[in-house]
Symmetry: C2
Subunit: 334 residues, 2 copies
């Protein structure tokens, strides 16, 4: 059952394909009765305009891409969702690409760039080099959760501000030594969190250092906790452990409590992202406007594509410190 084409409809209605085209997308005035004939014919033949033909003629895809590392945690899933919602409103399809465990991520992104009108790149999924090449080739790009590159638009959560708020909160809770758990090299977000915390807490005179981890998962958090516990005879636990994200913090928290460590009495613990499990684990964390990130990126990309934009846009969305039991500010009683 080969689908009917614009020519079938034209023949059936006794008009030219141009007229059918006009009717299908009411782009120009068509006399009512002709119009009706065309519509009837289209209905009868179950005609649905081929997007492919249309796209080629218009030289546009009416589709946007989004590249992310993975969708396991709630973070990227929410961003993608926010993005998709707005893209749908703007009548654009959404292509997704997960680079997780893909050795040829750069190539995949290049290919994707060739199937859409523009794309959003989340975090450190592709190298600056590739981003720049694509941009140079005319691909419209918006960066999310990644520092700006040249003239390319970007949308980020304000990690610095919340890092400062968190640092102050921990110090107010009595922390004189704070250890950041996470590897600043894994993502720009993590790097900013570390920098912000170091600065804020450092300014109060607190001692700040860092424990690197393999990845940002619960296992890595538990492993980090184990290491800290093991070396207790030589190095006492810090007053506070600020983790780069919630998964890390949850794994760490679990291991610490297993070992009988009193949280927050002995050690304060905090995460980042405010995932659902954080509520149940009573974990202090930083909430990010994940959906807004995606939605804002979608709008920015649309602006770039439709050309209604002056200079590069770098949006910084506000975040919020969420204080819970894992860092309860203790009263100043000795």
């Amino acid at each position: 059952m080969p689908r009917s084409t614009i020519r079938d409809v034209a023949r059936h209605a006794g008009v030219s394909i141009a007229t059918v085209s006009r009717v299908m997308r009411d782009s120009a005035a068509v006399r009512p009765d002709t119009r009706d004939r065309v519509i009837d014919a289209a209905r009868e033949l179950e005609f649905v305009p081929s997007q492919l033909g249309r796209q080629l003629a218009e030289r546009r895809y009416a589709a946007n891409g989004i590249v992310f590392p993975d969708l396991s945690g709630p973070y990227y899933a929410e961003v993608v969702l926010g993005y998709e919602n707005v893209a749908a409103e703007l009548r654009r399809s959404v292509l997704i690409l997960s680079t997780q465990g893909r050795p040829d991520a750069d190539l995949a992104v290049r290919e994707m760039a060739d199937r859409c009108d523009g794309l959003v790149v989340l975090g450190r999924t592709v190298s600056d080099e590739v981003v720049e090449q694509l941009a140079a080739r005319g691909t419209r790009i918006v960066l999310v959760a990644r520092p700006p590159i040249g003239e390319i638009d970007s949308v980020n959560a304000d990690n610095r501000d919340s890092a400062v708020a968190l640092g102050e909160h921990l110090v107010a809770g009595g922390a004189r030594s704070i250890t950041f758990v996470g590897d600043p090299d894994t993502s720009p977000d993590v790097a900013e969190r570390w920098e912000g915390l170091k600065r804020a807490a450092g300014a109060t005179g607190a001692v700040v250092d860092l424990v690197p981890v393999d990845d940002l998962g619960e296992h890595a958090g538990a492993a980090a906790a184990s290491r800290l516990l093991d070396r207790q005879d030589t190095t006492p636990l810090p007053d506070a452990l600020a983790c780069a994200n919630d998964e890390l913090a949850l794994g760490l928290l679990h291991r610490l409590r297993e070992a009988g460590v009193d949280v927050p009495g002995e050690v304060q613990v905090s995460g980042w992202d405010d995932v659902m499990a954080a509520r149940y684990a009573d974990l202090t964390t930083v909430r990010q406007p994940m959906r807004e990130l995606g939605a804002t990126a979608a709008r920015a990309l649309d602006a770039v594509i439709t050309g209604g934009r002056v200079g590069p846009v770098h949006e910084l969305l506000p975040t919020q410190l969420v204080v819970r039991g894992s860092t309860a500010v203790r009263p100043d009683t000795p």
Copy 2:
């Protein structure tokens, strides 16, 4: 900077467009030196074949779609991820469509069907009617987490088996009355869970009933708990509360404990899906092979599209009961 086309390259290399095409996709033998000339020309002009032209000529999109309600919970995100991974392996792009809060979901799905070679439909995102219409029109479809419709392929988790296992587990834990929390109408999965539980527990002589909820979120769970608590003077709490999913169970659990109810001493509670928070809340639940669902669907769809398939395929993936503290089987001591 208008991108160069196959004709530019042909002219530049002094060959015909056919030869360029052959070289670009090494579809036929080309003399090495001609080939080199073409490659040089292509590189020089930064030629990248237009997917649009290619797609139109081949009359295929090399893209598949996936339709889901939303991406908030971990469930659909994982399924999508499993799907994307396999689709990428099969060299197909992935288009996503979230129907959540979209009044024109049916239309959106129809449009999507017109931009890809086939699509996967998760759960009750679109009506049977639309699915059938699309299938009749030749759209390749695979259903996931939804009972088969006609000749259309489907991939499902085995809700029935795990419902039986769960029912037996609750009864073994001493439950004589079990209340299922959830609305069987919200999704086929929920309906199967309810049916399975009713049958399994009913067979042991336990009393089984149902408390409907508005949706599958934590709030709805908490609200259900409140209602159960409020009516305690007339109706005692059941021995076990089997919830349709984890979010529901988590909200309910929280409210019950707030009210001082002993779980599992007084009431056993279970969820479904095994989301991350379930571990921290020590919630008994059923684990589903979410990624496998997506991956299996991707393969099935590919089989349908490439035509290497005989009859309709209906896969049923195994699930697993995960016993935790919220339903600990109590020793038979009085």
